[in-house]
């Protein structure tokens, strides 16, 4: 594909990082929430454009930043959901100001932090240096901690504290793993920056000391796994989702978990490249399955609507980790597809949940009933979202879950039994809950919805579209990436 000259000259990687970074300062200084929320949308949109341009023009690999076929998928997804969430946030957050939950100065802080978080996540995805990757994930964690605590209620502070402490421990373990990878690579590659550069590491991984890599991977999996929300180190996730502003719940589930998973995948590729090292798959399969089964049972006892969907995120991250742990072209393909579909669907659900909480004035499931009668558009939107996330055809998640299950049955039938069990249990819980929320006699507030429906339906339309027809270009691309993942 040919592009106009100025576009090929244009450095997309720089733009993806510099636009959010510049926006942090601008948004922190500008008063007036209407302008800043629009600027937030604009910055997110420009970042998305820069990310999309990566599909056509591939910049050269540098010592710190690089773009390859794997991370470009994550970057485009990240900036896309970042953009749609910013449009949702622009219409949502004004209402929070009206009800007095946020003050204008906190709102300014919120917008600056939103862009700082996008910067951290984009940097993590573009990093070619495992040290830089770690720093970027730490930055994204710190910014989200601030946002989770922004309402300053008892619950929000507790959630932010828990998230901060568990997140820091996770990040500390990941750093220890990173140091161990350096200790393994240093005798082979030599001292200095090269021994932490991912593209050089992967090329020479076969010569590394396998025992050291094994220990490193365990630390990295536990460390970054904390951020993915895998059981048994998931405890921060439900609180952080329930107590932060809803747009933040959407990006936490839709994006931050993916970024942490991306880090795990990069190190999994290193492990696979070294034949003498421990196979990373079984570890990931175990953590994925235990998250899936644990979360699917926990879904039944939830009383708070945001917590319900937070546990559903643990469940789906479990499925995705399981699929990548199984490995092989088919399971990796299913994992990538599932990750994309989950990001889109879960953020759409959180958009709906944000509207519900504002309209009904509560997050308690018991106080929300008959939504399809009191707010038909919103109610049916939520029903479609939940039907999608529960894995019913014809939506996208059905297809990816179907691929995960069939590929597992073909290779390891015994593992497929707990997988299917977890999926069915979660399916039952979600449908049971959504019938209570959506149907029956209306109960609770009847305030009209203020925020826009467009982001929610745009995501659901994409998920439905992918379920009905996956463009061959996308299929080819994902198949190619699945091969890379090994």
């Amino acid at each position: 594909m040919t592009l106009p000259g100025f576009l090929t000259e244009f450095n997309a990687v720089g733009a993806i990082l510099l636009i959010p970074l510049a926006a942090v300062f601008v948004l922190a200084l500008l008063p007036g929430y209407r302008v800043t929320s629009l600027l937030n949308v604009l910055a997110s949109f420009l970042t998305l454009l820069a990310a999309v341009s990566l599909l056509f023009v591939r910049p050269e690999t540098g010592p710190l930043l690089f773009v390859d076929d794997l991370n470009v998928v994550f970057i485009v997804l990240n900036t896309l959901v970042g953009f749609t969430t910013s449009t949702f946030s622009a219409s949502y957050i004004a209402h929070e100001l009206e009800t007095g939950r946020l003050t204008p100065s906190y709102l300014r802080f919120y917008h600056a932090m939103y862009q700082a978080m996008m910067f951290g996540m984009n940097l993590a995805l573009l990093a070619n240096n495992i040290g830089l990757l770690w720093v970027a994930i730490e930055l994204a964690t710190l910014t989200t901690v601030m946002m989770v605590g922004i309402y300053r209620t008892h619950e929000a502070l507790e959630a932010a504290w828990k998230y901060f402490i568990l997140g820091s421990v996770g990040i500390a373990l990941a750093l220890f793993g990173t140091i161990l990878v350096y200790v393994a690579s240093q005798p082979v590659i030599g001292e200095g920056l090269d021994a932490m550069t991912w593209t050089i590491l992967i090329a020479r991984a076969a010569e590394f000391d396998p025992a050291l890599l094994n220990v490193a991977f365990v630390f990295l999996l536990l460390g970054y796994g904390t951020k993915v929300g895998l059981a048994p180190v998931h405890a921060w996730l439900p609180d952080a989702h329930a107590e932060g502003p809803t747009p933040i719940s959407a990006v936490l589930s839709g994006l931050l978990l993916n970024v942490a998973l991306y880090a795990v995948l990069r190190f999994k590729m290193l492990m696979t490249a070294n034949e003498a090292a421990l196979a990373p798959g079984p570890l990931m399969v175990t953590m994925g399955l235990s998250s899936l089964i644990f979360a699917s049972f926990m879904l039944y006892r939830r009383r708070d609507i945001k917590r319900l969907f937070a546990y559903s995120s643990i469940e789906h991250m479990g499925i995705i980790t399981f699929a990548f742990g199984m490995g092989g072209p088919l399971a990796n393909f299913a994992g990538l597809l599932h990750m994309t579909m989950h990001s889109l669907t879960k953020s759409a659900i959180f958009f709906a949940v944000g509207n519900i909480a504002q309209a009904k004035g509560t997050q308690k499931i018991a106080d929300i009933r008959g939504l399809t009668e009191s707010h038909p558009v919103l109610g049916w939107g939520l029903v479609v979202g939940v039907v999608a996330i529960a894995g019913l055809p014809p939506l996208g998640i059905f297809m990816s879950e179907f691929l995960v299950v069939t590929s597992t049955f073909a290779r390891e039938p015994l593992l497929a039994v707990p997988l299917v069990l977890g999926l069915l249990v979660a399916f039952g819980a979600l449908l049971w809950r959504v019938t209570g929320i959506a149907f029956g006699t209306p109960h609770g507030g009847v305030a009209p919805v203020k925020a826009s429906y467009v982001p929610m339906f745009a995501h659901l339309a994409l998920v439905l579209g992918a379920g009905l027809y996956l463009p061959p270009v996308l299929v080819e691309w994902f198949q190619h990436v699945a091969q890379l993942l090994g």
């Binding site: 240096n129 040290g131 830089l132 770690w134 720093v135 730490e138 710190l142 901690v145 601030m146 605590g149 300053r152 008892h154 619950e155 502070l157 507790e158 932010a160 504290w161 901060f164 402490i165 820091s168 421990v169 500390a172 373990l173 750093l175 220890f176 990173t178 140091i179 161990l180 350096y182 200790v183 393994a184 240093q186 005798p187 030599g190 001292e191 200095g192 920056l193 021994a195 932490m196 000391d209 025992a211 050291l212 094994n214 220990v215 609180d239 329930a242 107590e243 939830r302 009383r303 708070d304 917590r307």
Partner: protein, 221 residues
């Protein structure tokens, strides 16, 4: 051939950090805890300086200076102030008794030594022993975090984990500077965050006991 004394001093300092980590475990007064943490950071600064000297890596002196100034002086002083202002200096509430905690700590040190020495035969002799000590410090810090209820002592546990990580990073020969500075930097940022949190927590709860926070969980009704 490197003089054996070089190794001995490196071991003494790294082993000293493990020892101070044990001392952190049995402190029952808040001010005592903070003083021991300052000692922890001081030993770290000495240890990193020694590494800088024997590895001929001058940039490690910067890391040592950051450890000395920020972690051994500024942060302990600030935490002392917080403790006084919040009037929580009386005692550190523990979840488990001191005895079992110390025993568990010894088990963790044995575990990390056994693990690290086994998996690193090919690495540099100095690096592998530093890694073993560093992992011990990290695990002891984790133990401290799970065995304390008070927010300030959890923060001290977290910072002792970070000290262990810096020890490991300094021991890994020629590890790029980016990481060390970022570690120190992130601790600083983390500290600011924590500071804000402590004050917010105080505003809302009149206590920094994390258990008080648990009562406000969204689903306990």
């Amino acid at each position: 051939m490197i003089h054996p004394l070089v190794y001995d001093v490196a071991h003494l300092l790294a082993g000293g950090m493990v020892l101070v980590s044990f001392m952190l475990l049995y402190q029952d007064r808040m001010h005592g805890l903070l003083n021991v943490f300052a000692l922890h950071a001081l030993v770290l600064a000495l240890s990193v300086s020694w590494e800088a000297l024997i590895q001929h890596a001058p940039h490690l002196f910067i890391t040592a200076a950051i450890a000395l100034v920020v972690k051994a002086i500024v942060i302990p002083l600030a935490l002392h102030r917080i403790v006084r202002r919040l009037n929580i200096h009386r005692s550190v509430e523990t979840v488990v008794g001191i005895g079992p905690t110390m025993l568990a700590g010894m088990g963790l040190v044995a575990l990390s030594t056994a693990l690290m020495l086994r998996v690193t035969p090919s690495a540099d002799a100095l690096a592998r022993q530093d890694l073993a000590f560093a992992l011990s410090v990290v695990l002891l810090g984790l133990l401290m975090m799970v065995s304390r209820r008070n927010a300030v002592s959890q923060v001290v546990g977290l910072m002792s984990i970070e000290n262990g990580l810096i020890l490991a990073a300094a021991g890994a020969k020629g590890m790029p500077l980016v990481v060390e500075i970022s570690v120190a930097f992130s601790v600083l940022v983390a500290f600011i965050v924590i500071g804000i949190f402590l004050f917010r927590i105080r505003e809302r709860f009149d206590t920094v006991d994390v258990q008080a926070l648990d009562r406000f969980r969204g689903e306990n009704q």
